[in-house]
């Protein structure tokens, strides 16, 4: 069997030959022509900067070739490692809490006790549309050490004031909560949509069996939600690792450098410290991580779409 399939496999025309072949068919030539402008715009926007970035990352700020010098310097630069660590911890915190909040709200709004579901959906997705900079500024106002409403609320119950964004011990959670405010509605709407796709007979057979409540959720609801949950988790995790506007708006990286994300690190080094070549090395690391994430991500999305 393997003897027969081997020559077939090698005779299989490559992708390029397949494209040439498609070109002979008018309909498929039209398909490629319609797709070409988008493809060019999107690919050039990623590839041209990538090539320039690789070239810059391999040379010093004065343009001399330094090989992997910038990358080894990066590996020993504490603030880069701290920015990486902050970005990953921050993103993990944000997506986990957002998932739990979004899932809880989706189940609540989906329950039979909630009238006017459309109205609730409309209200609950509003933060999703609010920009990072406006969210950051609004929360910064609420977190304000002297005139902020949160500290006023604490004072009402006799607790001391907290410098929410001004201390590294609380800044992590305070910035995280801003991002959760914007991120949880995405989980809510994705999971709510997924709940609508569960066939009702799943529950009918369950109620005959007498299963209900928590067990029904883990046995029946969760398996249906899992693919959507995975997609939402990965999308939001990748999105959270890109946090930039929220940092500029809420803390400007502070206190000290406690809330530097990768994007903020690249911005500061490239445009404030004028070390574009060193910053390019960090970009390269980020792009490599994105490619890894992309391979994992499209595995899941693609598998799900094909199965559907």
């Amino acid at each position: 069997m393997s003897v027969r399939s081997l020559p077939l496999a090698t005779n299989r025309p490559g992708r390029w030959q397949a494209v040439q072949h498609l070109w002979q068919i008018p309909e498929q030539r039209l398909a490629l022509l319609l797709l070409l402008p988008s493809l060019l715009v999107v690919l050039l926007t990623m590839l041209y900067p990538l090539i320039v970035t690789i070239r810059m990352a391999l040379s010093s700020e004065r343009g001399q070739f330094v090989g992997l010098g910038n990358l080894t310097r990066l590996a020993t630069t504490n603030i880069f490692l701290e920015s990486m660590s902050f970005t990953l911890r921050f993103s993990a915190f944000v997506v986990i809490v957002s998932l739990l909040l979004g899932l809880g709200l989706a189940l609540v709004v989906n329950s039979i006790y909630v009238p006017m579901k459309t109205l609730w959906i409309t209200i609950l997705i509003i933060p999703l549309m609010v920009s990072d900079i406006v969210s950051a500024v609004v929360w910064r106002l609420m977190y304000h050490p002297t005139i902020g409403i949160l500290n006023y609320a604490l004072s009402l119950v006799g607790l001391p004031r907290v410098d929410w964004l001004g201390k590294s011990s609380t800044a992590f959670f305070s910035v995280g909560i801003i991002e959760i405010w914007r991120s949880a509605p995405f989980f809510f709407i994705m999971l709510y949509a997924a709940l609508q796709l569960i066939p009702p007979d799943v529950y009918e057979s369950a109620s005959v069996d007498g299963a209900g409540g928590v067990r029904a959720f883990f046995d029946m609801t969760l398996p249906y939600l899992r693919p959507v949950m995975t997609v939402a988790l990965m999308l939001q995790f990748i999105g959270a690792t890109r946090a930039f506007g929220i940092i500029v708006g809420a803390t400007e990286g502070g206190p000290g450098r406690a809330t530097w994300t990768i994007s903020y690190f690249i911005y500061r080094y490239a445009f404030r410290a004028q070390q574009m070549h060193f910053a390019s090395a960090a970009v390269l690391v980020l792009v490599l991580l994105t490619i890894v994430a992309g391979v994992l991500f499209f595995r899941f999305v693609w598998v799900q779409r094909d199965a559907a």
């Binding site: 498609l22 988008s38 990072d132």
Partner: protein, 281 residues
Amino acid sequence: MQPNASASNAGKRALVYLVLALALIWTLFPIYWVVVTSLKSNAELAASTPSLLPLQPVLDGYRTVIERGIPRMALNSVIVAVGTTIVSLALAVPGSYGLTRLGLPRRIGTPLALAIGFALIFPAIAIVVPMFQLAVRLGIYDQLGTLILLNVPFNAAFALWVLRTVWMDIPRNIEEAALLDGDTRFTAFRRVLLPAMLPSLIAVAVLVFIFTWNEFLFALIFSTSPRAMTLPIGIAAQVPQHELSWQIVAAAGTVALVPVVAATVLLQRYLVRGLTFGMAK
């Protein structure tokens, strides 16, 4: 039925309403607070007891915001967002049609779709340095058109990705019937397919508009003068450092929030479809 079923239902109902009440405060209070703050005076802001309603609403914040050129920045934002939306859809509508409805074999279509989909997770910060140098060299730095050029690829990729799933849900035979009736591909597209996908098209257009309206990174790096600065940059610049005049940044923030909240409320049904990548019907 268990005898205590109705009692436990009442308990569940109470719990559900409690969760909804908390969710309502959590979601809307920050938005309410920015609007209220924008109407407060300096004296009221500095008060040790923040009032939940502006005691004497004043428009000082809005007056300052107008003096500081926020209307021009809002106009710039509209131009960039409208331009990006038009160009992105002009690319994505034919692109997604070609990708899904002309019988492109999977082995060609899948890698092309994945290449475009990769742009959805590609970090915007990764293109900023090379594009900055290019824009300076080409003499197109600090121009609205440049911001449109930077925003288009990511939004066209998003639009194409969502519209792809929309096309796949429109039955192929309605197009074939039109072709048999003597339509050309183009007239069939306009007469039959476009109306079928119009709601999704509106959703994608509004989402692209909002994404661009909110965009911060490109605007921060590629604009330095009022002729190209957009609203998010104007808002970030109004954050008070030591004084307490938060009504100014709150007023600028309210200006940015109004179209976004209005669009969400008016077009909720369409937006949900786009946001869930076509999953919600």
